[in-house]
């Protein structure tokens, strides 16, 4: 949460001074002190991120039986993941279907969070004029994160269930005769829950980008005869690109790896890559799960790389 507040504060500061704060940071500090300051985080990263990741990659080449895993160097696991994938073409194998399904959610959720996130960020940046009110609205946006993920998921049930509020209301109003079945445990509910969860990840970076836009630019566009829509597409959106990109990376990476939300909101009926990995782990097929994880990681990194190709982030930050 404090991230959001910091982001606003920083954006305001940048706007006021017109100079990126990073320039100040670069001048300070020589010698060992900065490295010591960074050391704790680096250590945490090393022990809890780099090492496990390396272990996962190593294990993905190991062999396993029903009750043991053994060091080896085999591509067997990767072969198993894509078993039958080439042979069955044009029919898609399970792995491809699962990836496509996850990718589908990824794209839909990305589109939804981007649309809603941009709109909210635009409102906060251009229509709310005081920092205090902006912070209050940001706090409102974070309310979904005040409860545990499971409680949040469960609380959708009385709303969307067969006899939930939405169905009762619609039937009561006479809009529909029989309750809608597809509200809960469906693609719809998965997209709804994911969008609800991750829109904030779009709002914050986009807001940050929008706050950096010199308001005189918008007047200059108007002065040149641009309509509101033209100003949006020719000036505001291009200048918000870094924020849109960062938000997109957040959302894409999180949704690609999600299995909890898709599992619960999909009624455990919708396959996802994360779910596959989790299941394989339950059956103690660690090397197979590891191979799957490495493939997922590669897919996500490829996605991020593609996004980074769109925007030179170092130049635009």
């Amino acid at each position: 949460m404090s991230d959001a507040v910091e982001a606003i504060a920083e954006a305001r500061e940048t706007r006021a001074s017109g100079r990126a704060p990073r320039r100040r940071a670069r001048r300070e500090g020589h010698g060992a002190a900065p490295y010591l300051q960074a050391a704790p985080m680096a250590l945490v990263f090393l022990i809890f991120f780099v090492l496990p990741l390396a272990a996962t990659i190593v294990v993905s080449f190991w062999q396993y039986t029903q009750y043991s895993i053994e060091p080896a160097f085999t591509f067997q696991n990767y072969g198993d993941v894509f078993y039958g994938c080439l042979r069955d073409l044009p029919d898609l194998c399970t792995t491809f279907v699962t990836y496509l399904s996850t990718l589908k959610f990824c794209l839909i959720v990305w589109a939804c969070t981007l649309t809603i996130g941009f709109t909210v960020a635009y409102f906060l940046a251009f229509h709310v004029h005081t920092l205090k009110v902006q912070v209050i609205f940001f706090l409102l946006c974070t309310i979904p994160f005040w409860t545990s993920i499971v409680i949040r998921m469960i609380s959708w049930i009385p709303l969307l269930g067969r006899n939930g509020l939405v169905n009762q209301t619609l039937v009561g109003m006479g809009v529909i005769d029989t309750p809608l079945e597809g509200l809960l445990y469906s693609d719809f509910s998965v997209v709804l829950a994911l969008t609800h969860l991750y829109t904030l990840f779009m709002v914050v970076p986009i807001f940050n980008s929008l706050m950096r836009i010199d308001r005189a630019l918008i007047e200059a566009a108007r002065d040149s005869g641009a309509s509101g829509l033209q100003t949006l597409t020719a000036v505001i959106i291009p200048l918000a690109r870094p924020g849109i990109l960062i938000g997109s990376i957040f959302v894409v990476t999180v949704v690609m790896g999600d299995f909890l939300t898709i599992g619960i909101m999909g009624g455990q009926q919708i396959a996802s890559v994360g779910k596959v990995i989790q299941t394989q782990m339950q059956f103690l097929q660690f090397p197979l799960a590891a191979a799957n994880a490495v493939i997922l990681l590669a897919a996500v990194l490829a996605g991020v790389w593609a996004l980074l190709r769109l925007v030179d982030i170092r130049k635009e930050l």
Partner: protein
């Protein structure tokens, strides 16, 4: 290029909540003239300009461009173009695309609008930089681009918001003459906001001195300098001594004050002591304190001063020609 248009303000007022920024000002700027709105910060000059531009709503009164009341028109329909103080160049677009922006908004094709942009970049001597991004340009270059972009809409009135304030002094003087040249070449009306009286004097056909949301005086530069109406105008323009004499408030230009040895001048008006001497190159500025406790400033030519040099503390007789006296109205 479109024909120049006159701009007329009729009792134009701007309120921000309870604060009165512009208080019922009326002004006529002739077509094709160079008008400078001059005043200290907070005097309402920028608000006035922004109302003419259409970036600020008018609380009361009318703004006419040509013979049309434009109060409700969006900026692009007024035939005005604005050059912003911070230049407001689009950082994501090349110089040429910045200049061509208004054509792009009209749906003009890329090749056509870029070639038109190059013509205007030629006018401001920036054609070689067409493919650069704004952040690769110096302040002076950015300003030329901003000027070219403003001219792209073929305005009949160009509005400039403190265009020279961000430049270093040398560049400021150069850009000043360039602005004047372009204004003459295009023959359109310029309305230029500045807090520098030197800038206003150098550029304007019509200087409008503003204070507290009102026009203190409007007239040609020579008239403003030689015959300031109020003590405020005299002080703001500078180079004036404001003193009381015979129950009147009069002003006396610092370069009209002559200093003589005491006793040598029968027509002297004041006896004074030199309190400070400032050498400025072409002339010397002598600060004086009279016996009555008034502070006066005399500006003497360099040669004239060193023919009869003075020291701090010297006693002098202060004199002036009767024609040099200009009476001020009491208010302001």
């Amino acid at each position: 290029m479109t024909k120049a248009q006159a701009v007329e303000l009729a009792a134009v007022t701007k309120r921000y909540g309870d604060a009165l920024a512009v208080d019922a000002i009326s002004l006529k700027v002739k077509a094709g003239s160079y008008c400078c709105l001059l005043g200290p910060s907070g005097c309402g000059k920028t608000s006035t300009l922004r109302m003419i531009a259409g970036h600020e709503s008018v609380t009361d009164g009318d703004i006419l461009i040509g013979h049309t009341v434009v109060n409700e028109d969006p900026p692009a329909q007024r035939g005005t173009a604005m050059m912003f103080q911070s230049y407001a160049l689009f950082p994501h677009l090349s110089v040429a695309e910045n200049v061509a922006f208004s054509l792009r908004m009209k749906g003009v094709g890329r090749d056509q609008r870029i070639s038109r942009a190059k013509e205007l970049l030629d006018l401001v001597s920036m054609a070689d930089y067409a493919d650069r991004k704004p952040n690769q340009l110096s302040g002076g270059q950015q300003q030329r681009v901003a000027l070219a972009r403003a001219l792209m809409t073929e305005p009949s009135v160009l509005l400039l918001d403190e265009p020279l304030s961000a430049l270093d002094p040398f560049l400021r003087v150069r850009m000043r003459s360039e602005l004047k040249r372009i204004q003459k070449e295009l023959g359109i009306s310029f309305i230029h906001v500045t807090h520098s009286q030197e800038e206003a004097m150098a550029l304007a056909d019509l200087v409008v001195v503003m204070n507290d949301g009102r026009i203190a005086q409007a007239g040609p530069p020579r008239e403003i300098y030689n015959a300031p109406r109020t003590p405020f105008v005299a002080r703001f323009i500078g180079g004036h001594n404001i003193i009381e004499e015979g129950g009147r408030t009069i002003t006396l230009r610092a370069d009209e004050v002559s200093l003589m040895p005491p006793g040598e001048a029968p027509e002297s008006h004041r006896a004074a002591k030199v309190s400070d001497i400032e050498y400025r190159g072409p002339d010397v500025r002598v600060s004086l304190e009279t016996e009555r406790g008034e502070e006066l400033t005399a500006v003497l030519g360099e040669r004239a001063f060193f023919d009869r040099p003075l020291d701090i503390g010297s006693a002098v007789a202060v004199g002036w020609r009767p024609e040099a006296v200009h009476e001020l109205s009491a208010e302001g």
